[in-house]
């Protein structure tokens, strides 16, 4: 009788631990997925802003077609790039470099620099680049939180049986780590 009670108590405690571990892992895994889609949202937002920017610049510096085309090509390459972290990183880096050159045109054309919508688009794009970086940072923070939970006591005992694996961090590609150079 006493043994039965002890067994039942232990079973209840173990079950509670498993449920706690499972729910904690699920919550963190969903956060990772949410963070991942956030990166996509911000990248897409950046692509959406570019046509407007190109149109605005065209009105003031139409003969700078080389710079404008570079931006458009980089945008197209980014859309065509495979939807994997590796594929996107290279294309996005190219786009950042091309946009840098486009914004540098503002220095050569005072009228363009004074244009309200150019300034607004510049602010929007700067903010969106920041958001892309922040959403990657949040993704990595979420992965860290998840991996910590996964490997901590007592979750570590159940994680394998519940089929939870370690997640990988988002890492900047070699190309993305070098600052894009801007030539005048």
């Amino acid at each position: 009788m006493v043994i039965l009670v002890i067994v039942i108590v232990i079973a209840v405690v173990v079950l509670a631990l498993v449920i706690g571990a499972y729910n904690g892992l699920i919550r963190r895994r969903n956060q990772i997925e949410n963070a991942w889609s956030q990166i996509d949202v911000q990248l897409k937002r950046r692509l959406d802003l570019i046509p407007n920017l190109v149109e605005t610049v065209k009105g003031y510096a139409a003969h700078e077609s080389e710079t404008l085309e570079a931006v458009i090509n980089a945008r197209n390459a980014s859309i065509a790039a495979p939807d994997t972290p590796d594929g996107q990183a290279g294309a996005n880096n190219m786009l950042t470099g091309a946009l840098g050159k486009l914004f540098a045109l503002g220095e050569a054309y005072p009228d363009l620099k004074a244009n309200q919508s150019f300034l607004q688009l510049q602010e929007e794009l700067t903010a969106t680049e920041g958001r892309v970086a922040y959403s990657r940072q949040f993704y990595n923070d979420s992965v860290l939180d998840y991996n910590n939970k996964l490997e901590q006591f007592p979750t570590v005992f159940f994680a394998n049986a519940l089929k939870f694996d370690r997640r990988e961090y988002f890492q900047a590609e070699e190309a993305a780590r070098t600052v894009p150079s801007i030539e005048f």
Partner: protein, 301 residues
Amino acid sequence: MFELIRSNKRRSVALVACFMLFIVLVGAAIGALVGNGIAFTLVALVFSGSVAFYSYWRADKIALKISRAEPASEIQYQRLHNIVEGLCIAAGLPKPGVYVIDDPAPNAFATGRNPEHAAIAVTSGLLEMLNRVELEGVIAHELGHIKNYDILVSTLAVTMVGAVALLADGAIRLMWWNGGRVSRSGDRSNGNNPLAYAGFALLILSPIIAKAMQAAVSRSRETLADVTACQLTRYPPGLISALEKLKEDTTVTHSASMATAHLWIEQPMSGVGDNGKLGGIHKMFDTHPPLDERIALLREL
């Protein structure tokens, strides 16, 4: 992180309990003096209960209102909105309300009861004085307060300090009620006016209680929010240079009042860094650690 949040929720409950206890005790004391103890105690209980309840739901709106904060338009304050949104992504928080205060002194605060019901207010002086990275540092500091639930304790304190201040104000009147009148023949002796004594005691106690409440929003919270800010921006120099600009600026934030002093990123009242005779006393009642200490700590990160 989670311990921080728990501790802040505990503090909030303690703050409300202390506040209610104080008001009920005052009510009971006055009641006992007047000779109707139970009625006064009940009135005090109802009063303190309603203030506490109201504080939880509405104190953020009150804090914004008494600071004359206006909602920031998305078009006019595009940069500010963008910075808030970006950092919210980094922190995994919903975007709080964004408010601007027309005040040349650079300062900012956050308020609300939880991340879903939060607001950030900055002065127009801050927007003018800081560049993008510095502003990001300050906004990240305020988001740190939101994330750590510091805003719950500090916002509750606003209305409760306000209520105590109101009582103290009333107490001054109580003192003069009968007590201040020139006695006429046939009057009872002035020394027998019990309300005067109660008023006098309340007058002395109230500011001390109010200060103690603000101390519940301990000064170390500011330092913690600074550290959280750097976790978000991953760029301590931004916040450091912002704090240095705040240090150089000596304008007093006129939009701040006694009740909201502890909310702001920089102590808004005069008397900071005062090394004269009263310097020590000012330091005792400071709601914030000295900016020099905060900057030095950030440099070590």
